[in-house]
Amino acid sequence: MSFFNNAKNVLQQNIREYGMYIALFVIMIIFTITTGGTFLSSRNIVNLVNQTGYIAVLAVGMTLVIIVRHIDLSVGFLAGFMGAIAAIALVYWGLPVYAVIPMVLALGAFAGLITAFLVAQMKIPSFVASLAGWLVYRGAILVVTEGTGTIIIPDAAFNAIGNGFIPDIPGLDAFLPGAHKLTLILGVLAIAALVWGELSNRKKKQSYDFEVLPIDMFIVKLIFMSVLIGAITWVLAGYQGLSWTAVVVLIVTLIYNFVMSQTVLGRHIYAIGGNPDAAELSGINVNRLIYVVFGSMGMRSALSGILFASRLQSATTTAGNLFELDAIAATYVGGVSAAGGVGKVVGSIIGALVMTSLTSGMNLMGIGISYQYMVRGAVLAAAVIFDVTTRNRGK
C-alpha cells in the first residue's frame, strides 16, 4: 500500500518534529481517562491555557536566548518585578491601563538590554550576568512591595487580561445556545487560513519543481490539523470562549514564529547559534543581535509579569519565583537544543503546554506535589533523551 508507505516515510523523516505533538496528545488522553473526562472539559482546558500563558511567553523569548547559546536566569524575578511596577503604576500613580502596559513592556526591554550589555560588551557569561540580575530583581521586588506587601489591583480592564474572555457577538443567542459564537467564527477563519496558506505554498513549490508531500499525505495533514484546530475551538467555545491570555499567547507565538522561520533576522539568529564565528565572518553583527535577543526576552518577561499579576489580580512579593526554570524546561521539552542553533518557537509552546498539562492532570487526580515534581523531572529528562537520540535521523 503506497498510502501506508508514504505515511511511514513522512513519520520517520519528521519524528523529531511530530514527537512533541504526539507526546502532548498521549498525555492528554491518559489524563482524560484517569480523570474520567474531567481533564478534557472545556472549563479545565481554558484554565490550562490561562495557567500556561505566563510561562509560555517566557518560553518563547527563552527559545531565542537558548538558540544563540545563552541563558537568562533573571526572567522570573524580572517578571515579578515588572508585575509589581504595573500594580504600583495602576494603584498608586493612577495611570490608565493603556499607558501602563506599554510602559512596563518598554521597561522590561530595557532590563533585557542591560543583561545584553553585560554579555555582549563586557563578555560576561550569560549564566553569571543573568544570575546577577536574578538577585537584583529579587531584591527589587521586595523593595517596591516593602511598605505595602501584596498590592491588590482593582482595575477591571487590567485583570481581564489574565481572567477575561473575548466578547461574543450580541444577538445570536438563538443559534447554538451555550456556544461562544465569535470563538467558533475565529476557529473557522483559522482553518480557512491554514488550508489556503498550505495550498498556495504547495502551488508555489510545484511551480519551482520542488519536492512536495505526496498528495494523499498532504490531505491527511490538512485534515489532521483542521480537526485539531476545530476540536480546540469547539472545546473552548463550550465554556466562555477564547480567553484574552490565549489571544496574547497566540499573537506572540505567531509573530515570533514568523520572525524565526521567515525573516532575515530569524535566519541570522539561527546562524549565530549554529556558529557565532562563522556568522560574524559572514557579515552578521553578532553583538547587535545579542541585544535584540535579550531585549526581546526582557519584554517577554514584562509581558509574563503583566499576565501573572492580572491573573492573581495583585502583585505579590514572591511573584516570578522559579518562572525562569519552568520556561527553560519548557523550551528543552519543546526540542530546543542546549548546544544552540536548533529549536522552534512553536515547540517551546507545546513544551510549556506539556508541563502545565502534567501539573493540571495530576492535580485533578489528587497526586501530591512531591510526586508531581518527580514526574515532571522524569518527563523533562525523557523529552531531551528522545530529542538527542532522534537528532541524527531524518535530514
Binding site: F210, T263, V264, L265, A279, L281, G283, G341, K395
Partner: protein
C-alpha cells in the same frame, strides 16, 4: 619473509546506504613507513577506525591480525593495549593542561592513589627528548605552535610503548619547516623500530618518506607499491587515486598584464591587544583587477591576521595605515562593511569559522547575502533553493540535495559550499585562505579551475597558501610574509620554492 606486523584481511564495512570499505586487504611489515593515500572519501579514515576499534569488532566483516594474532578490538583502549596508537588530524590535547599532563593523560603514573608528578615530569622529559622537542614540560599546550603540539601527540603515543603509530594527515596544518622536522622524526623512529602508517594528501612527502604505499579508491584497495626503488612518481599515484591521469593539476592560464589596482594597503600596522604585541608592521601591497596574488609564508607569519585586519577586523586589532578599495579610502568596522564594499574572505578553517555545520547547504550558501533573496526582511525560501541549486551546479557540489547538512559532505565539497557562499555576495575581491587545505586532488583541481574562471571574469583573488606548489602554480604575483612584514614580492616567473622559503625564513 617475516610475518607482517599488521594484516587486515578482506575488511568490509557498510554504513546505511554506503559501502565505505569493500573487501579491503592491507599489510604493514615490521619497521616500515607505510603510506595510505586516496581521495577524500576513499575509505582511509574508515579503515583506520576499524583498526583502532572505533568501529568495534562485529560491526565490520573480515579479520585483523596484529603481531600474528587475530584481534577483536571493541574500543580504542583495546587497540592501545595491543600497541596501536593513532594521532588524528584534529589534535586531542587539552589546551589548558601542561605538556607533561597531556603526555600521561589517561595513563597517569600512580603512587598508590596519588599521581606521582615527579616521576611523570621525569618520564615526560625523556620522551620529549625522543621526539626532539625542546620545550619546558610544564608549558601549557595552548602556548605551543601546531607543529610542537603535533610532536607532543607523538610523545604521548611513545610514552605508551607503541608498536604501530598511525598518523592521520599530520602535516596538513604544518608549514614546510615543521613538516620536514616531523618527517625526519618519523625516519628516526623507524630506525628505533617503530612501525608507522601515514595518511597524507601531500604526495611529494609521501614519495619522499614511504617504504610502501597503498592506494585506496572508492573503498577498495587499488594497489600497493614499493616506494624504495624510487620509481613511484606523483603522476602514478594520482592516476591510481583518481582513476585518470591529471598531467597538470594547475589549469593553464596566461599571465597577462593585469588591470587597475582594486585593493591597496599602505603603511598598515596591527596590534593585537589580547596577545599584547604588534602582529603586522608597515605592510604595503596591492591587488589588480583580474589577477591572483599569492601570499606565502610560514604559519604564524601574519598572513591570516593581515586578511582579517582588512576584512572588517573581527578580532578587534588596533589598526593604523591606509586601505583603498577601488581607489576609495576605506575603514571597515565590521566584516559587513567589507562585504558591502565588495571584499569577501573565505576562512582557512572551514569547520571552525567558515560553515554552520548543523545547517544545510542552501542555508550556508545564502548566509552572507540573505537580503538578496528577501523582500522587506522576509526570506523567499523557494528563491533560496533555486540559488543554492545554481551554485550546486556551477561549482559541482556533490550532494544529494541542497537540503543536506554540510556536516555530511566531504572536505572538498564543504570547501565548495564556502566558495559558493562568497560568490553569492558577488565580490570584486575574493580572499581565499588555504583554499585547498585537507581536500583531495580531484577537488583541488576543480577549485583551481573555478578560481581561473573567476579571474577571467574580472574578479581579483588573494590566495593565502602554505603549499608552495600551489602558490607557484596559481599565482600571477607572490608576496612573501614573514614576522608580520612583507618580506618580498616576486613575479611568478621569477619565483621558485627556494627563493620563497629563503624570504620566509629570514
Amino acid at each position: 619473509m617475516n610475518t607482517p606486523l599488521l594484516e587486515m584481511q578482506n575488511i568490509t564495512k557498510e554504513f546505511p546506504g554506503v559501502k565505505a570499505l569493500d573487501n579491503v586487504s592491507f599489510q604493514v611489515a615490521q619497521g616500515e613507513i607505510h603510506c595510505l593515500v586516496g581521495e577524500n572519501g576513499a575509505g582511509k579514515s574508515t579503515l583506520m577506525k576499524v583498526l583502532s576499534g572505533v568501529y568495534p569488532h562485529g560491526t565490520y566483516s573480515g579479520d585483523i591480525l596484529f603481531g600474528g594474532k587475530v584481534q577483536t578490538f571493541n574500543n580504542i583502549s583495546d587497540s592501545e593495549k595491543a600497541g596501536i596508537a593513532i594521532i588524528y588530524q584534529e589534535l586531542a590535547l587539552v589546551p589548558e593542561l601542561t605538556v607533561y599532563e597531556n603526555i600521561f593523560i589517561g595513563h597517569e603514573i600512580r603512587n598508590g592513589f596519588m599521581v606521582d608528578w615527579n616521576e611523570t615530569i621525569k618520564r615526560a622529559t625523556e620522551v620529549l627528548k625522543k621526539v626532539k622537542l625542546d620545550v619546558n614540560p610544564a608549558a601549557k599546550i595552548k602556548d605551543l605552535g601546531v607543529g610542537k603540539q603535533q610532536l607532543v601527540e607523538i610523545a604521548k603515543a611513545l610514552s605508551k610503548d607503541v608498536k604501530l603509530l598511525i598518523l592521520d594527515e599530520p602535516t596538513a596544518s604544518l608549514n614546510e619547516v615543521d613538516s620536514e622536522n616531523l618527517l625526519n622524526l618519523l625516519r628516526d623512529l623507524k630506525d628505533h623500530g617503530v612501525t608507522c602508517i601515514l595518511i597524507s594528501h601531500k604526495l611529494k612527502e609521501v614519495i619522499e618518506i614511504a617504504d610502501t604505499i597503498t592506494v585506496l579508491r572508492d573503498g577498495k584497495t587499488i594497489c600497493t607499491l614499493d616506494a624504495r626503488n624510487g620509481q613511484v612518481t606523483e603522476q602514478i599515484l594520482v592516476k591510481n587515486m583518481v582513476g585518470r591521469e591529471i598531467d597538470n593539476i594547475y589549469p593553464r592560464r596566461e599571465h597577462k598584464l593585469a588591470g587597475d589596482v582594486v585593493l591597496e594597503v599602505r603603511g598598515w600596522n596591527a596590534y593585537d591587544p589580547k596577545a599584547g604585541r604588534a602582529i603586522l608592521k608597515d605592510v604595503n601591497f596591492n591587488l589588480r583587477k583580474g589577477e591572483i596574488v599569492g601570499f606565502s609564508g610560514l604559519i604564524g607569519s601574519g598572513r591570516t591576521e593581515l586578511a582579517l585586519s582588512i576584512f572588517g577586523n573581527p578580532d578587534g586589532y588596533h589598526l593604523s595605515g591606509d586601505l583603498y578599495v577601488k581607489g576609495q579610502p576605506c575603514k571597515f568596522g565590521h566584516p559587513r562593511d567589507a562585504i558591502n564594499a565588495g571584499v569577501a574572505y573565505s576562512t582557512e578553517d572551514r569547520k571552525g569559522d567558515g560553515l554552520i555545520l548543523i545547517q544545510d547547504v542552501k542555508q550556508n550558501i545564502t548566509l552572507a547575502n540573505l537580503v538578496e533573496i528577501a523582500t522587506r526582511g522576509v526570506v523567499d525560501n523557494n528563491a533560496e533553493v533555486k540559488v543554492a541549486n545554481e551554485y550546486k551546479g556551477s561549482l559541482n557540489i556533490k550532494t544529494p540535495s541542497v537540503e543536506q547538512k554540510v556536516s555530511n559532505l566531504s572536505g572538498g565539497n564543504q570547501q565548495k559550499v564556502c566558495l559558493g557562499k562568497w560568490l553569492f555576495v558577488k565580490p570584486d575581491i575574493l580572499i581565499l585562505d588555504e583554499p585547498t587545505r585537507g581536500i583531495d586532488v580531484g577537488a583541488k583541481y576543480e577549485i583551481y579551475t573555478i578560481m581561473t574562471r573567476l579571474v577571467e571574469q574580472g574578479m581579483s583573488i588573494i590566495m593565502i597558501s602554505s603549499e608552495l606548489p600551489e602558490i607557484l602554480g596559481m599565482s600571477d604575483r607572490v608576496y612573501v610574509v614573514a614576522s608580520g612584514k612583507i618580506a618580498g614580492e616576486l613575479p611568478v616567473e621569477e619565483a621558485t620554492q627556494e627563493k620563497i622559503m629563503h624570504l620566509a625564513t629570514n
